[in-house]
Amino acid sequence: MKIAVCAKVVPEQARRIDSETKRLDRSGEQALNPFDANAVEEALRLKGDDADAEVVLVSLGPERSLDALRKALAMGADRVVLVSDEAAAGSDLVASSYTLARALEREQPELVLFGQQANDSDGAVMWAAVADRLRRPLISQVAELTVSDGKLRGKRQTEFGYDVIEAPLPAVVAVSDAINEPRYPSLKGIMGAKKKPQETVSLADLGVEADRAGEPGSRTEVYAIGEPPPRGETQRIDDDGSGAEKIVEFLLERKAL
């Protein structure tokens, strides 16, 4: 079985938005998005000892992302495919999902895994867009996953508890961070990572037209960045016995009750 894990490389340190480009400041150290480590771990568990199974990482980002993606190889993934192209910079959901879908089609995996969310823009939505483009069934927020006989069964976490959903392969699954504890790469794994295949492809290699990527291919934009509205002054009370009543009053005022 071929499992593709869609991973993102994000800035390691406290993030900031570059006030000039209005994009996330992606300088500084990069690391594998911690939530994607859950997806890599799940892929490795599904692969188990099966020599015929393959775990390939697919990512969209600048060339230097390869360093951070190697962590997945150190954990045990087999290959990395990085779509790296200047024209893809500034891609939003519409543009990124299109590019990722083309990269995935090139791989033809039976299963595509995503992690819970991206640490940087906190957007928890990419998988649904990609599943739609690939025209494949989707199960998201999966806290437990089993695969047997070409079928998937996932326990999906919602506000109301857990649904159990089944879908046939090929499929797209987004795992929640509750699904597993990612393994630490062993030293042997770290040292062997560099030798594993790491492929860089351009938009042209994928047949992605220039107007479908980067800013031309995006359908959203950022106008301005500013401070959050101030929380306002802290109202301070010293309890004289009526503290509880005052809290209730306050909550009603703020429509929080």
Binding site: E181, R183, Y184, S186, L187, K188
Partner: protein, 559 residues
């Protein structure tokens, strides 16, 4: 009152020594294992890489991974912290013909410098002591320099293994065989968590220990092979911040005096530094010897207090704190160096053995030079093709260090730090005499007492620490946050201390620790190891810092 040494930590150095235990085919084999991706370790890796490039037959003999550098931080630089004003000579020698000074990540040469003697409301300019002259030197962030050196090391073929702690020295038949890396994924009580990954034996023909201050395996090696020098090592604790500032600072500043107290009974030796970092940043720090005696002393709070001085406040006006960190510095100098720097299969370089020139506040170029010399000695032994584990095979390292500027410099200033044990004024006079005579006067060698042997006193010192205002002055917890420390809460504690200790010792540790690891409780002290930024102060004052899980601790970038 108590002495910290009356409550020694539950730790025996023999815990850090073991023979290889992994089955042979599971051991990781490398040619040369270097412990620590700091300036010493990386210089060693770079020099070895250069030499191996030019000698492919030697390189071949070292196997698939000729050079491995093991680093416990998240990446090279994460645990590096210094002032720093760097003497470039060792870097120029290391990169001769390959890189120029301008290619290296420095913030520009030192143009002007001033030294001040401070009182609480005045700053008296004093002539720069000759030992502190910085002409020709460069300001750097050691964390950044470390990252750059790591890239250079990788370019010449070194394999860097971050997030990997070296917890044991592998010793077999009287020689060092390599190191054992630390386990990952243990719970609070040492139990194996679901993602438990055991450490591994990394066997190497030669092991170079470049662990920096409080080197865990360095201490074990010195003990095991009888390398102790005449005097115990002593340390200082430095706490520093980096600020974005509205106006560029155009000179290097050092201060002495306030907020430290001059009286001999306090034993408060140290001062502060303020260095420009380019057009829009500066770094400032407070360094205090850990032989201080007052339980209420807190170097972090002294730094906060320093910032309220008119001289300093002006520099920071309109600015914003963007980094914080803490680390110890070995201060014993020449007299505390191990009597030998090699043993069968092993070499010691950098701050680990203690190559720091305290009066000049310099150690980085000594780390680089000793790392370079270690590489050359290792290469020579490998080239000869002989058994490098044979006693004496690596003796050329000691000879080379003794002939280098490192030795000369340190010998000249050998008594200076110890002189300051007699108080600022007398110490200053002695220091002056030493400088003028190039170390010949006063004759003989002073003795050093271990920091933990200092009897504690209590004064009212804490009363004047400023309350943190979140703009100029800051509390410890928000500082720990700024260091990038995200150590796993349920990791086993890597700090060895007795917890049933008298209140004055609990208070000493509570104030001493810049990261708020300790807290006094009924009958002793509570330890929150996940706050630890691995500065090492506790090792000087009655406890023992051991390597934490690889990848944990601070993630310094600008320190």
């Amino acid at each position: 009152m108590t002495k910290p040494s009356e409550y020694p930590p539950p730790f025996d150095v023999s815990e850090a020594i073991a023979p290889p235990t992994d089955p042979e085919d599971e051991r990781i084999e490398v040619g040369v294992a270097i412990v620590g991706a700091g300036p010493a370790g990386l210089a060693c890796a770079i020099r070895l890489g250069q030499l191996l490039e030019a000698a492919p037959t030697v390189a071949e003999r070292l196997g698939e991974v000729p050079l491995a550098v093991v680093e416990k931080g998240k990446q090279p630089g994460s645990h590096l912290l210094s002032g720093a004003v760097v003497n470039p000579r060792a870097l120029q020698r290391l990169f001769a013909g390959r890189k120029r000074l301008d290619d290296m990540p420095f913030y520009g040469p030192v143009e002007e410098e001033s030294v001040y003697f401070l009182t609480s409301n005045r700053a008296v300019r004093i002539p720069t002591p000759p030992t502190m002259r910085n002409h020709g030197n460069r300001v750097a962030s050691l964390a950044q320099l470390g990252r750059w050196l790591a890239e250079q090391a990788e370019e010449v073929g070194a394999t860097i293994l971050p997030e990997t702690a070296a917890t044991k020295l592998l010793v077999d038949h009287g020689r060092v065989r390599g190191i054992r890396t630390g386990d990952k994924g243990r719970g609070r009580n040492g139990e194996e968590l679901p993602n438990f990954e055991p450490g591994a034996d990394v066997v190497a023909r030669i092991t170079v220990l470049a662990e920096g201050t409080q080197g865990h395996l360095t201490g074990a090696a010195i003990d095991r092979f009888g390398l102790e020098g005449e005097n115990p090592q002593v340390w200082a604790l430095g706490v520093k911040e980096v600020w974005r500032v509205a106006r560029p600072l155009r000179r290097v500043i050092h201060t002495m005096g306030w907020p430290l107290r001059a009286g001999a009974k306090y034993r408060e030796f140290g001062g502060s530094f303020i260095y420009p970092m380019g057009e829009d940043m500066l770094t400032l720090g407070m360094v205090v010897g850990l032989d201080y005696r007052d339980v209420e002393l807190s170097v972090h709070d002294l730094l906060q207090e320093l910032k309220t001085h008119r001289l300093v406040r002006r520099l920071l006006e309109g600015g914003e704190r963007i980094a914080w960190g803490a680390k110890t510095i070995p201060e014993g100098g020449f007299l505390s160096l191990p009597k030998r720097l090699h043993a069968p299969g092993i070499l010691l370089a950098g701050d680990g053995p203690g190559f720091v020139n305290v009066p000049a506040l310099k150690g980085i170029h000594y780390a680089i030079e000793t790392g370079t010399l270690a590489a050359e000695a290792a290469f020579a032994a490998l080239q000869r093709g002989e058994a490098v584990g044979r006693p004496g095979a690596l003796a050329s390292y000691d000879a080379a260090v003794r002939q280098s500027f490192v030795w000369r410099d340190l010998e000249q200033v050998r008594n200076m730090r110890q002189a300051f044990g007699r108080g600022f004024w007398l110490g200053g006079a002695l220091a002056g005499a030493m400088t003028a005579s190039r170390g010949k006067f006063p004759p003989g060698d002073a003795r050093t007492e271990p920091d933990a042997d200092q009897e504690l006193i209590r004064t009212d010192r804490a009363r004047s620490y400023p309350a943190p205002d979140g703009k100029l002055t800051f509390d410890k917890l928000s500082s720990v946050f700024l260091s990038g420390n995200k150590t796993r809460d349920d990791a086993p504690s890597h700090i060895r201390v007795q917890t049933k200790v008298p209140p004055e010792l609990a208070e000493l540790w509570t104030r001493m620790c810049p990261a708020q690891v300790y807290e006094p409780t009924e009958g002793g002290v509570d330890v929150t190891a996940s706050n630890c930024v691995q500065c090492g102060a506790i090792t000087a004052k009655g406890g023992r810092l051991t390597p934490a899980e690889g990848g944990s601790g601070p993630e310094y970038t600008l320190t």
